[in-house]
């Protein structure tokens, strides 16, 4: 009896092993084409850098910068900055870009704390982050406290901590007070955040107020991020991803280990039905994005800006804070954009140019239009480091104009005015 059972068990085990062998052979055969194609792609990518030519102004490939930097950065714009420091700044920003963003309540995202030689993001105990080489108190009695809000241009992307608009603004304000014979301690805090819209800046500002911070003055620099922020809808960058992430987290789905190509095939099939399920789940859950024809878009975007400024001023008057609003320069508008290595995307220019043209007529107290600052400065200098961000010298010029406006709010700023 035992012998018969063992005989059957042996037979059964042979069948099992044969099936397994067949499974592995089929898997191996399925893996082969992918493997061949990968080795082909790898050998092509090995050849690729040798074929790539370094253009004039392009950073050295030895710096190991990211794709965006290699595409857009024009090193010639770092006028007066030693080449070693330029390399350090670009490398630090390559590392900074890798740390990504952190999720933040209400404003969705913000740069996390970061330390390097030229780029430093400080964070207070409540989680508010700001750019500075050293942390400083966000409220201090007897000090003229200025908070500057804006996007990555204000944060000072591709410039060192001491080459940003808020840094130069502090210098210019101190100098201006000295000229007037006043000794006043000035602290300017850089709350510039990558991709931020004017509405996000407002929410960040009011959260700071809710947390008990009371600056003396606030500056809002805007204009460049209109498309990132989906103006006039004012939905922050990444909102779509967050909506999908949130929805996906509410649907459970599983997968077999992808190691075996057969399982992978099953997973792909299952993924298709998951996608269908997800599509059905998302059906009607979210409002459609509003789109506008170009003239309407310009008018609506201006209206969005105006409404946001109304709300900011409601808060500043409540807490007796002096607001300043700056419409910032943009490479797409009167800045000889074509002299840089890469031309800006057409769809960006097509929208930004009419908006900037209309914004010239925008009038309200505490508002200054700097959209034509490139032209005012003359076209000899390269004022942009990449697609949107300013060079250190341009940051300084913007800060000086701004400081002049802050010290003489009733006078119209002209190029001949200096601090």
């Amino acid at each position: 009896m035992t012998n018969i059972l063992f005989k059957y068990y042996k037979l059964f085990s042979l069948m099992v092993l044969n099936t397994l062998m067949a499974f592995f052979i089929v898997n191996g055969l399925m893996k082969l084409p992918g493997h061949l194609r990968r080795s082909e792609v790898q050998s092509a990518s090995v050849r690729l850098p040798a074929l790539t030519q370094v253009h004039r102004g392009q950073p050295s490939p030895e710096l190991k910068l990211n794709e965006h930097q290699m595409k857009w950065v024009d090193s010639r714009s770092f006028e007066g900055v030693p080449p070693e420091q330029v390399s350090q700044i670009l490398s630090d920003f390559a590392s900074f870009a890798q740390v990504g963003y952190a999720f933040h309540p209400y404003t969705h995202f913000s740069e996390p704390a970061f330390q390097s030689q030229t780029v430093n993001i400080q964070m207070d105990d409540k989680g508010y982050s700001y750019r500075a080489s050293k942390s400083h108190p966000l409220s201090a009695k007897g000090t003229y406290q200025v908070y500057v809000f804006g996007g990555s241009t204000t944060l000072g992307w591709h410039t060192a901590d001491n080459q940003t608009i808020p840094h130069y603004l502090a210098e210019a304000l101190k100098k201006s007070y000295r000229k007037r014979g006043q000794t006043r301690s000035v602290t300017v805090t850089n709350f510039g955040k990558g991709y931020y819209s004017w509405f996000q800046e407002m929410i960040l500002f009011q959260r700071l107020l809710h947390s008990g911070y009371r600056p003396d003055a606030v500056v809002f620099l805007d204009g460049v991020n209109v498309l990132h922020a989906d103006s006039p809808n004012e939905t922050p960058h990444n909102t779509k991803d967050l909506i999908r992430l949130w929805d996906k987290a509410q649907i459970s789905s599983t997968a077999l280990p992808n190691t075996f190509p057969l399982f992978k095939t099953v997973n792909n099939w299952a993924r298709d039905s998951y996608r269908r399920l997800f599509r059905d789940f998302e059906q009607g859950r979210h409002p459609h994005r509003r789109t506008y024809s170009l003239p309407d878009w310009v008018a609506k975007t201006q209206q969005s800006y105006h409404t946001t400024l109304d709300q900011i001023e409601a808060l500043t008057s409540l807490y007796q804070i002096q607001p300043y609003f700056v419409w910032q320069p943009n490479r797409a508008y009167l800045c000889q954009s074509s002299k840089y290595r890469q031309e800006l995307p057409e769809e960006y220019r097509d929208k930004v140019v009419p908006l900037y043209t209309e914004m010239k007529q925008f009038k309200r107290p505490h508002f200054v239009y700097m959209g034509d600052l490139c032209r005012k400065m003359g076209f000899k200098k390269r004022l942009f480091i990449d697609d949107v961000h300013y060079s250190p010298s341009f940051n300084r010029a913007i800060a000086q104009e701004l400081a002049y406006f802050m010290m003489n709010p009733k006078r119209v700023v002209t190029t001949s005015d200096t601090l």
Binding site: V16, N18, R285, A314
Partner: protein, 401 residues
């Protein structure tokens, strides 16, 4: 010749025997694997059984709060609510959490012309001249209540009656913008978003108090922020993967081990990068800090509303755990901060708010709550009537507010 050579080689190497051995080993290992799965599944089933025994019975709705409602109607309301719960929540810019649109007999959430969701209320029976936006948490949204039993609906009914008394006046339309889980600061942000989109109501009513725990106390971090931050980081770092099917016990075990590892990593990342998530309950839930947070928010709402000439009303709502005869009680650790905060608001009156925290006591209400926090239809009606009276309290003109 070759066949002979091959056969002799096979015989020499005893391949067939070795293959047979391998087959035995593999099959026996397979059986062991299945046995192991069986043991693990037994362990899981005993674990689940223990869990089931320990599970606190889901807070059932207290049916006594619906004494004037027919059984069929109540069943329909609770069934619709159950279906709505399956829809989960949606992520919305700035406000973060919102209620998805929904259609049913008794619970309807629809969208306005700018894409913002609101809960259906009783319709106005007159020409609408003014809009009244009502903000609040789940109590104002009307959890466990039909569309026409919510506070905003009863408020609309009161307006309808008033307009019938004075037919020549322009009427009011009440819109319920409350959201389940909304904190007082979320309400402010939603209000700002609505104004930014182009809405211009005549009046905004903010009903608060019950959801004070939903924003990490005074720290003002909306509900689900930790979960959203974890999702964000998982996506950014590629941790967001599909788990293995839980039906195979050993894969389930692997899932659990992996999730423990991922959670460990996530906790580390969140601790490092998210100062705002680090909890300091003593300071964040101190009565003083909560009061300050409420007052700051109230000031900001008022300042924003004034820009557009909107009248604001701030209601401190009754709480099921404070001076109310409620059969459903929270744990003492949760009751304590409610009592402290509500006592403080009674003792140190904040100018400009209507404090309704003694409403139950004054009206000697019994069986007014559908659960620990949410109101039954009668209490909703009483709250709405009291708010309505407060709205007209300060004006001598019966036509306008």
């Amino acid at each position: 010749m070759w066949t002979q050579y091959f056969n002799s080689l096979l015989a020499k190497l005893q391949l067939a025997r070795h293959y047979q051995m391998l087959a035995l080993v593999v099959t026996t290992a397979g059986f062991l694997f299945l046995g192991l799965n069986g043991v693990i599944s037994l362990w899981y089933s005993s674990d689940e059984g223990a869990e089931k025994e320990n599970v606190v019975v889901q807070p059932q709705v207290d049916l006594r709060a619906y004494h004037s409602v027919s059984k069929e109607r109540l069943r329909s309301v609770l069934n619709d609510e159950h279906s709505y719960l399956q829809e989960g929540t949606v992520f919305r810019p700035y406000v973060q959490v919102a209620d998805p649109p929904f259609k049913s007999k008794t619970l309807n959430v629809t969208r306005d012309e700018y894409g913002f969701e609101f809960r259906k209320s009783t319709a106005p029976n007159h020409v609408v001249g003014h809009k009244v936006f009502v903000f609040g948490g789940s109590t104002t949204f009307g959890v466990h209540a039909a569309d026409e039993w919510t506070i905003p609906s009863y408020l609309q009914e009161a307006f309808n009656t008033r307009v019938q008394q004075y037919p020549n006046t322009l009427g009011y339309e009440v819109v319920n913008y409350a959201g389940r889980g909304h904190s007082w600061y979320q309400e402010l942000v939603l209000f700002e978003r609505l104004l930014h989109a182009g809405h211009r109501p005549s009046m905004a009513i903010f009903i608060d108090g019950v959801a004070f725990r939903n924003q990490q106390g005074a720290k003002n971090v909306p509900i689900w922020s930790r979960e959203t931050a974890a999702l964000w980081e998982k996506q950014q770092r590629g941790f967001l993967t599909f788990p293995f099917p839980n039906e195979i016990p050993i894969l389930r075990l692997i899932n659990q081990i992996e999730s423990v590892e991922t959670n460990k990593k996530m906790n580390f990342i969140l601790k490092q990068r998210y100062a705002y998530l680090n909890s300091h309950p003593e300071s964040e839930f101190s009565t003083q800090a909560l009061r300050q947070s409420y007052v700051e928010t109230m000031k900001q709402r008022k300042a924003i509303a004034e820009v557009y000439g909107i009248k604001t009303h701030f209601i401190w709502q009754p709480h099921g755990q404070f001076r109310c005869a409620n059969n459903r009680l929270l744990g003492s650790d949760q009751q304590k901060p409610v009592k402290a905060l509500y006592d403080d608001f009674l003792k140190n009156r904040i100018p400009g708010i209507h404090n309704l925290s003694q409403l139950c006591e004054k009206n000697k209400l019994v069986n007014a709550f559908a659960d620990e926090l949410h109101y039954g239809p009668d209490l909703n009606k009483l709250v709405a009537q009291t708010i309505f009276e407060k709205l007209y309290e300060r004006t001598h003109d019966e036509h306008t507010l």
